[in-house]
């Protein structure tokens, strides 16, 4: 198949995969600026595992309910617990993130072990990150989620930035830092829960880190970092889909590998500039 034929096939036969993965990358790319700057990369890793566990739990315990709803509920529950633990000083931040990550993975394995074989294959498909079979319903849900979450972030940008930069001083100025942190983590949780169900955990976790790291290497202003990170989130899924077709690879991991290659190039540019 020639390059043109590959592109035509993607656009005509898998438009939902193309648009969906771009929106997922764009949303995760924007949010990655906060995830990286707040040094909570493992929150992304943990919540993606929780989201997958939620899908598995839904299959196992609530076979007649929507997996989206159960996964979202479990992720938001994890967000509340994580946000509380991260703000308290009883356990170090590293330990909270490390323990919650490994607990989420262990739970996922245990739940999958007890799931019927037919459900396991669907969960494994999510873990594999095959973007090609995004449905119109999933695409609509993803676009609506991205629109609402980005609107919330733009509306409360100064609050999120101040609380992320210096939560103690923000508190002295009347900002309820705990509530803003909770809202922030809730938006991350919703994004992860919805996107993981559609594009897979590797894609979501990768795009919650790599775009912001790439943007901080190239941009000098915070505003430029937000723009560049969003762009870096949106671009690799397109290239990833093309390469996945050409080389017969799963599209999600290929998109992450493409984003990683962009990060490597950015680092080289920065190093030798």
């Amino acid at each position: 198949m020639s390059d043109i034929e590959i592109l035509r096939t993607i656009v005509t036969q898998f438009p939902f995969a193309l648009i969906g993965s771009v929106f997922a990358g764009l949303l995760c790319g924007y949010l990655s600026v906060y995830v990286v700057s707040k040094r909570v990369v493992f929150v992304g890793a943990t919540l993606t595992q929780v989201a997958v566990t939620g899908i598995a739990v839904a299959h196992l315990l609530f076979p007649h309910e929507s997996t989206d709803v159960v996964s979202l509920a479990l992720t938001l529950f994890a967000v509340v617990i994580l946000a509380q633990l991260l703000r308290s000083h009883d356990i170090s931040r590293d330990s909270v993130l490390g323990v919650s990550y490994v607990v989420a993975i262990a739970l996922r394995i245990l739940v999958i072990q007890k799931s019927p074989a037919s459900e396991v294959s669907e969960i494994e498909a999510i873990l594999k990150g095959d973007l090609l079979f995004i449905t119109q319903h999933q695409l609509s849900l993803l676009i609506a989620t991205a629109a609402v979450l980005l609107f919330i972030h733009l509306l409360f940008q100064k609050e999120f930035i101040f609380v992320s930069f210096d939560s103690e001083t923000a508190t002295t100025q009347g900002f309820k830092a705990g509530r803003w942190e909770m809202l922030f983590y809730a938006t991350i949780g919703i994004a992860i829960s919805v996107a993981t169900r559609i594009v897979g955990d590797v894609f979501v976790f990768g795009f919650l880190v790599i775009p912001a790291v790439t943007a901080t290497l190239l941009a000098r202003k915070v505003r430029s970092i937000f723009w560049l990170s969003t762009l870096v989130g949106a671009l690799p899924p397109i290239i990833g889909l093309y390469l996945a077709f050409k080389l017969d690879l799963p599209a999600g991991p290929t998109a992450v590998a493409t984003a990683s290659a962009m990060l490597a190039v950015s680092w080289i540019i920065k190093r030798f500039k």
Partner: protein, 253 residues
């Protein structure tokens, strides 16, 4: 609190975290144009007291009263702020205006002007477009003081403002704080573990230690016996060309 000169008043206050009590039966007041230094050994409860002054920590018993509408400009320890993002000095100082804006409103020309004024006031207007994370310790401290000033505070609260600075930066930072107190008539509260810094700039000192909390004029509080008892080692307080020097270990000054 009525409209007299008291800005903050602690009445028989107990402070702690959960069941752990850190400070007991604290009573003192901070008046307008005061310059109070808060000193004490590591782990004595300075930060706990500071958090209570700022209103972040509620007392477990007793009462903390604040003058109505009194604005506190807070300058945290600069080492606690280690941004990955390249916020410019202007961005950082502008954050000081966010508390006045309320929800949904974005900074206006007035806010930008206030930021420029504050930068000029602490002599770093030329650093406005520099990245905060690339500044020296002294420059960062000035940027954080400027951020506190744009809140148009009644009280400036500084946490260890000279910690880890070289001699020149330390001196210039302390002179700036002295200027803000003396010429701008700002009420200042400064927490420091560097006794010499506090002794030579503040009007009053609070010694913080559970069961040994004292507040008074510098000369009354900073005595050999008081400090020896506080730190558990012989401490001598002396004078050199009008400046107080504090030496530990029983050495003569």
């Amino acid at each position: 609190m009525n409209s007299n000169d008291k800005l903050i008043e602690f009445r028989d206050v107990h402070l702690g975290y959960g069941r752990k009590n850190v400070l007991s039966r604290i009573s003192f007041e901070i008046e307008r144009s005061d310059f109070l230094g808060i000193v004490g050994p590591n782990g004595s409860g300075k930060t706990t007291l500071l958090r209570s002054i700022l209103g972040i920590l509620r007392p477990t018993a007793g009462e903390v009263r604040r003058a109505q509408n009194a604005v506190i400009g807070y300058v945290p320890q600069r080492d606690t702020i280690d941004p990955i993002m390249p916020f410019t000095v202007f961005d950082v100082v502008l954050m000081g205006r966010y508390g006045r804006l309320g929800l949904f409103r974005r900074p206006s020309i007035l806010d930008f002007d206030k930021v420029q004024e504050a930068l000029a006031h602490v002599n770093i207007e030329d650093l406005a477009n520099r990245s905060f994370r690339d500044l020296s310790g002294g420059q960062k401290q000035r940027a954080l003081i400027a951020r506190a000033l744009v809140t148009q505070p009644d009280i400036l609260v500084l946490d260890e403002p000279t910690n880890g600075m070289d001699l020149a930066s330390r001196s210039s930072t302390l002179e700036l704080i002295k200027h803000l107190h003396k010429d701008d008539k700002l009420t200042v509260i400064m927490v420091s573990h560097l006794l010499s810094d506090v002794a030579n700039y503040v009007n009053r000192i609070a010694i913080v230690e559970d069961r040994y909390f004292q507040v008074g004029r510098v000369g009354e509080i900073l005595t050999d016996s008081n400090l020896s008892k506080l730190y558990g080692v012989p401490v001598t307080v002396g004078d050199f060309q009008g400046n107080k020097i504090v030496v530990a270990g029983g050495k003569n000054v």
